[in-house]
Symmetry: C2
DNA sequence: ATGAGAATGGAAACGGTTTCCATTATAATC
DNA sequence: GATTATAATGGAAACCGTTTCCATTCTCAT
């Protein structure tokens, strides 16, 4: 299992390991607060403190095991990715579920930007907001406020 | 002048008008705090309070005169756009200046997403981070931390 | 002039995140 | 196994951008 071997190789500390496992179980974009709540709801023992969760997310991010996603509501969310990979999402503004797009189609675009603007691309943010299939079938006539 | 006529048509209040004018003079992506600071540095009279600046930015945004940009540092920035239009940026992580891309090339992509995922696209976020021409010529060998 | 509704400013509250510091766990050395 | 140095942890406080609250001021139709 990938997580285990990473633990051995990079000596992931207990907090980081616990958070990574939680994130895997939760299985969707989660903020530090989400994870903290999840621990309080599901596990009695070994639940790391909020501070530790923040630290764990930071170091997991630095190890390229996570991707951070900012949907603009002031809460940073995280998600497990293949080490070094990243992808983008369709985020439903109704149910807040997210569909992740398999491939990042911007890589190709990056090189054209580099040439056209003399700009060295390091990273990018792309998130698409809207209403998912489930939600739009629930309420056929959503008021577009 | 566009701003003036909008003022007459939509009865922009004083705060909103003042903030819009400031934003135009500053001429780059600015947060509420940036604008507040700018007022304190440049103008003695008529400087709206921070609260008013927040309110003004909100209503200008609702009127589609501004675009909000979130570069993930917890501070929302705003920029004047042609009413209803939007665009994306190349943001230099070194000097924090931003180059705005003329056209949004994602509009076309949206319809393919809608068909493929049954997802109704309402909005999206796309920002590209890296090092601009100026900054990369300043330090030819930037350490890639 | 008068009175109702909107706009404004200042202070307090809010909430996610970071920092601080004392305590506890971990691992290497003797 | 005892002793230390170092890292990890938890809890509380600080931080900071933003929002809310409320009393005051402005605006404008009557």
């Amino acid at each position: 299992m990938m997580i285990q071997s990473t633990l051995n190789q990079q000596r992931l500390n207990k907090g980081s390991y616990t958070v990574l496992r939680a994130l895997k179980e939760i299985g969707k974009l989660s903020s530090a607060q989400d994870i903290h709540l999840w621990f309080r709801l599901n596990e009695t023992a070994d639940a790391p403190a909020l501070t530790t969760i923040y630290r764990a997310l930071d170091s997991l991010l630095k190890m390229n095991l996570l991707q951070a996603v900012d949907i603009g509501d002031g809460e940073r969310r995280y998600e497990i990715v293949e080490p070094g990979e990243h992808h983008h999402h369709l985020i439903c503004t109704d149910c807040l579920e997210s569909i992740h797009l398999e491939k990042c189609f911007l890589e190709a675009f990056a090189s054209s930007v580099e040439q056209r603007h003399g700009f060295v691309v390091r990273s990018h943010v792309l998130e698409i907001f809207g209403i998912c299939r489930k939600c739009s079938s629930k309420k056929p006539k959503a008021p577009s406020v």
